[in-house]
Amino acid sequence: MKHTIPQEEYMERGHMACLGCGGAHAMRYLLKGLGEKTIIALPACCWAVIPGVYPYSCMDIPLQYVAFEVTGAAISGIEAALKAKGKKDGTTVVGWAGDGGTADIGIQALSGAVERGHDVKYVCYDNEAYMNTGIQRSSATPRGAWTTTTPVGSTKAWKQTPKKNIVEIMVAHEIPYTCTASVAYPEDIIRKAVKMKEIEGPCYMQILAPCPTGWKYPPEKTIEIARLATETCIFPIYEVTDGKYKINKRIRDDKKKNIIDYFRTQGRFRKLDETTIQQIQSSVDAEWELLKKKEKCFGEEI
């Protein structure tokens, strides 16, 4: 039998993630793609807890915990040491941070690292809020989502502003490779991990990692919800290689689901009114059409 997912494990049993954690899936698949010669730096985030509390760890690769805002800088240092010590034997240096550590507090160090052109791979596992500290909104929280700092009150409710488009910010840095991925499509994560490993230079990957605890849904629904995010086009799966766009999970117009189907699966969108849902639907549609245009204008010659 031919396996589409490598059987090697670099993340062992005994991790401390919540039941149904999308972030745990994301790391497991990423490492299957990157292989054993991988060094990971990770800041404060759920993943600072998931490997285990000292002296226990479920990880079979070198790991460095770094301060919240410095993932980009730390991997710059590790990569420079790799270069200076002449040990570039296929070792991949990876920064692994949550959406807050990427889009908010860590954006400066990330921007600096990729601008300097370090041969580093930065992966954001995106659960769309500060889940580790208790579901506070981040700039990557989508419009309409309840969080503990965007509660539904009598005068104000849910996050009012749209999700920060960190992927396009990275594309604007003109790095060799930027992509999105989702735990609903493990083979796609693995293919992209292998691709990043082979590219010399900075790469960015954003993996949608649903969070049952923060999104308020039963843990067994993680993959289903992640898939819905792509099928409704609120989280499209695409890659930008040397400026060329390619949609990896193409959603045909007749198969495209309504955003309401996605929202209904999660308690965080429970209080949304019809008007807002329609407004969000319009902006999701517009973004999706724009992405298709980008693929057409800046895509591979077909």
Binding site: I61, P62, V70, S76, A80
Partner: protein, 392 residues
């Protein structure tokens, strides 16, 4: 063969960094540190070093890149000043806690606000509890020599701690002085090859740096850090002394100047010690029994050694180039006074805060301090005065 050069403190720091030829240098520009990194960038551009130079986008990232590089197994150097060090605060602690040897030059400068680019020690004093070894240097020669000592000390197997090489912003960083430099191979022989203990780069033996460490073990790890600092003191003394065999310039953790028979003593650090030596000479010529204790090592603080040095002295003035708001005296004053608590027949002690934001300190002012010590009543009360400020 050693040769003399006419260079500034910043140039001396850059030149010594070139001779160390570290794996990684990461830094961000801030006055008065910039000239060191500009000079070092030239060495990189001309292929005179093998160093990977990372021009980061902030001091916070400079220290973070250094932490990554040091954990990876590299020999690492950085430099900063004032607000840059303050921005690093969080990660300065992490570097020491992860027991990562590295060297950081700090061209001591006043912290904002209001904004000021000139010398005082408030930057270094802000991180005095961070777990770094802190050496304060009087002049460019000391800076040059201490850079090599810092490698040996920080990388020592029983220490494994980062070292901060402090010198006075502009006063020492920009003043051109004679510096006797060593040959490259002498430097390399002295500092030796860097052998990291548990490099991250060793992917065949994966390990974790700085994992989540809660009430079960955190306290023990902090206790080990305390042990490392305590063990460091005699090793630092030995290393500074041993450096004399290499360079002909022997250093101690402190320098006594006419202290043997002195009744009245000033304690201070960095460039002010030079001015004080001049005043001591002048007053000794008048038959006054004055002396200087220049402290080079501030962390770990050599309390016992200081108490021994000051036994039998009548009165002491401690000069602090930083304020510790709301405290009883500046950082150096509180440490020295604390060190003298168990001494029989305690000397009278007074503290002065001087030179904040680069305010000049003159020989006459220092002579005034000595004269006040000489004329003070027998039972001196440890009070704090301000030197050279309007309204005092």
């Amino acid at each position: 063969m050693a040769k003399p050069m006419a260079i500034s403190g910043n140039f001396a720091a850059a030149y010594s960094t070139k001779q160390i030829n570290p794996h990684i240098v990461a830094a961000y520009p801030i006055t008065p540190q910039t000239l060191m990194m500009e000079k070092f960038s030239e060495y990189v551009a001309n292929g005179e070093v093998d160093t990977e130079l990372i021009c980061v986008e902030s001091e916070h990232s400079a220290m973070s890149a250094c932490i990554g590089a040091a954990a990876a197994g590299g020999r690492v150097i950085t430099s900063t000043a004032a607000n840059g060090l303050a921005l690093m605060f969080e990660v300065v602690y992490i570097a020491a806690s992860l027991r990562l040897p590295m060297t950081m030059c700090v061209m001591n400068r006043a912290l904002s606000g209001p904004i000021n680019i000139h010398c005082d020690h408030s930057d270094a004093m802000g991180v005095r509890d961070s777990g770094w070894i802190q050496v304060f240097n009087e002049n460019a020669q000391e800076v040059y020599d201490t850079m090599f000592q810092a490698c040996r000390i920080g990388e020592h197997k029983d220490i494994k701690l980062p070292v901060m090489v402090n010198f006075d912003g502009f006063i020492t960083s920009h003043k051109v002085e004679r510096v006797d430099v060593l040959d490259d191979d002498v430097v390399q022989d002295y500092i030796g090859k860097f052998e990291p203990m548990y490099p991250l780069l060793d992917v065949d033996n994966p390990l974790t740096y700085g994992p989540l460490d809660l009430f079960d073990y955190y306290f023990e790890h902090k206790r080990q850090q305390v042990d490392a600092m305590q063990k460091a003191l005699p090793i630092i003394e030995k290393e500074m002394k041993a450096y004399g065999k290499v360079s002909g310039r022997e250093y101690g953790i402190m320098e006594s100047y006419h202290l043997d028979d002195a009744d009245y003593v000033i304690i201070c650090m960095s460039s002010t010690a030079g001015t004080t030596k001049f005043v001591v000479d002048r007053m000794r010529a008048q038959g006054k029994k004055v002396g200087l204790l220049k402290l080079r090592l501030f962390r770990p603080f050599p309390a016992k050694q200081i108490a021994e040095q000051l036994a039998g002295v009548k009165r002491i003035a401690v000069l602090d180039r930083s304020e510790s708001f709301g405290a009883f005296g500046g950082p150096l004053f509180t440490e020295v006074r604390n060190a003298l608590y168990d001494v029989n027949d305690k000397p009278g002690i007074t503290g002065y805060v001087y030179g904040l934001g680069g305010r000049d300190i003159s020989a006459d002012q220092i002579e005034g301090v000595f004269n006040k010590l000489i004329s003070a009543p027998d039972k001196m009360i440890g009070d704090i005065q301000y030197l050279g400020v309007r309204g005092d």
